[in-house]
């Protein structure tokens, strides 16, 4: 979807706040919220992107995970909002109360030994090859996708064929695997020549599924 999460090139966010240095979060519960979302399988990029825009912009990274988890778990009926409220009240009223404890050694073992990197499939019959000029198709999908607005309509050059990967955001039953390309753009073709503003031309490289591209 072309939501507020698609932020490349947006103005208005001010300087990057670098003073926190390497800090990944401010409070440990934040990381725990993300892990709960991951382990319950209740948080996806799609779910986070579908948060109300004002909520998305007003929420920290980890709160977005928490909200997306709650939304998905309640909407699917896996959790009852009354239970969430009951627990929230319990913890609010008793600072020493803690969540119940349960153990799952097989998941622990899997997390220790079974998690590996994504592996690409082989790109069979890719439409494009290294050096080919390609244009980013003008599309406007409501479903989750990974073709940001700031490159739409721009012409670039294939820098690498990455392999083939499942296309994100497709409805159940319509899954597809397609070649993914690293495409190189000149910043001039994306944002104009801003040399006089202290930003001389640079190169932008981004990975795009085949369906996001066409011959120019």
């Amino acid at each position: 979807m072309d939501g507020v999460h698609d932020m490349g090139g947006m103005h208005g966010f001010g300087p990057v706040h670098t003073a926190d240095g390497h800090l990944a979060y401010h409070e440990p519960w934040e990381l725990r919220a993300q892990i709960l979302g991951l382990l319950s399988g209740s948080v996806s990029r799609d779910g986070i992107e579908h948060l109300d825009p004002a909520t998305y912009l007003a929420s920290s990274y980890y709160v977005r995970w928490l909200l997306a988890a709650e939304n998905t778990l309640v909407r699917s009926g896996r959790l009852d909002p009354a239970d969430l409220k009951r627990w929230e009240t319990t913890f609010a009223q008793d600072p020493d109360a803690r969540p119940p404890v349960a153990s799952d050694p097989s998941t622990v073992e899997f997390l220790r030994t079974g998690l590996g990197p994504h592996t690409h499939g082989a790109a069979e019959s890719p439409l494009f090859g290294r050096g080919d000029r390609v244009r980013v198709r003008r599309i406007h999908p409501e479903h989750h996708h990974r073709s940001p607005r700031y490159i739409r309509g721009a012409v670039g050059e294939v820098e690498r064929v990455c392999g083939a990967d499942p296309v994100p955001g497709l409805p159940a039953g319509e899954e597809a695997v397609e070649p993914v390309y690293t495409v190189r753009f000149s910043s001039v073709d994306l944002f104009g020549d801003r040399s006089s503003d202290g930003e001389p031309p640079y190169v932008l490289l981004i990975d795009l599924w085949e369906r996001y591209l066409e011959a120019p």
Binding site: D6, M7, G8, G9, F13, V16, H17, T18, G21, A24, Y25, E27, P28, W29, L31, R32, A33, I35, L38, L39, S40, R45, L57, Y61, A69, E70, R78, L79, D80, D83, L84, W87, E88, F91, R98, P99, P100, V101, A102, D104, T107, V108, L111, R112, L115, G116, P117, H118, H120, R146, Y150, T182, S187, R194, E199, Y202, V203, I206, D207, L208
Partner: protein, 212 residues
């Protein structure tokens, strides 16, 4: 952040920070409620959550990335393999894991690389651990692709006009990792000493290694 050591007797030390002596924020309460409801329903287990936290906070981390950089600096054949196939090269050093499909991009006297994920915050976890708050921030996600030199200046890094800046937007499954330039005057250092020069920021492109 309190740099607490993970403790294994499941007393939920994540909910026991000094700040929890104040009333907890609504979002902290809702996180605790989420954990409680999920455990109660048998949908997640506490030790699995603890294990994943341990993985993200300690087992994965920039100490791995620094080892890779130092090895590439001292071993030209490794460097070539690293640039050709990052995922398999880092596996030679025992490094692999989720978000670990890696392409390594090399800084040179003519080229400076910068990595971002504009759409969310994709990051090469096995090599760098958790992304910093700034990497996940709207300002970085918005501006790294549109005004990289201005962003780098905010990190105290000035890139010469004749150096090509390359910004990598991690929009698919590949996670990008910057191989920074080896600082001059380091010929006598051991591989371990070289790894100590490699900052987290230098492996994302918002900094350069220290000179020791």
């Amino acid at each position: 952040m309190s740099d607490h050591d993970h403790d294994h007797d499941h007393d939920h030390s994540h909910y026991d920070t000094p700040s929890s002596r104040r009333p907890r924020s609504e979002m902290e309460l809702r996180t605790m409620a989420l954990e409680a409801a999920l455990v109660e329903k048998g949908l997640v287990a506490t030790d699995a959550v603890d294990e994943f936290v341990e993985l993200m906070e300690h087992r994965m981390g920039p100490h791995h990335g620094a080892r890779v950089v130092a090895r590439a600096w001292v071993d030209p054949d490794f460097r070539e393999r690293l640039l050709a196939d990052g995922t398999n090269a880092i596996a030679e050093l025992g490094i692999s894991g989720p978000e670990g499909n890696v392409r390594v991009v090399e800084n040179t006297p003519d080229t400076h690389n910068l990595v971002v994920c504009t759409l969310c915050s994709c990051y090469p976890w096995p090599l760098l651990g958790l992304p910093p708050i700034w990497y996940k921030s709207f300002a970085y996600r918005a501006r790294a692709v549109s005004e990289p030199r201005s962003v780098l200046r905010e990190f105290g890094l000035e890139v010469d006009a004749d150096v090509e800046v390359r910004v990598w937007d991690s929009s698919a499954e590949v996670r990008y990792f910057v191989l920074p330039e080896r600082p001059p005057g380091t010929d006598d250092l051991t591989e371990e000493q070289l790894a100590d020069l490699v900052t987290r920021d230098s492996m994302v492109g918002t900094g350069v290694p220290t000179t020791g």
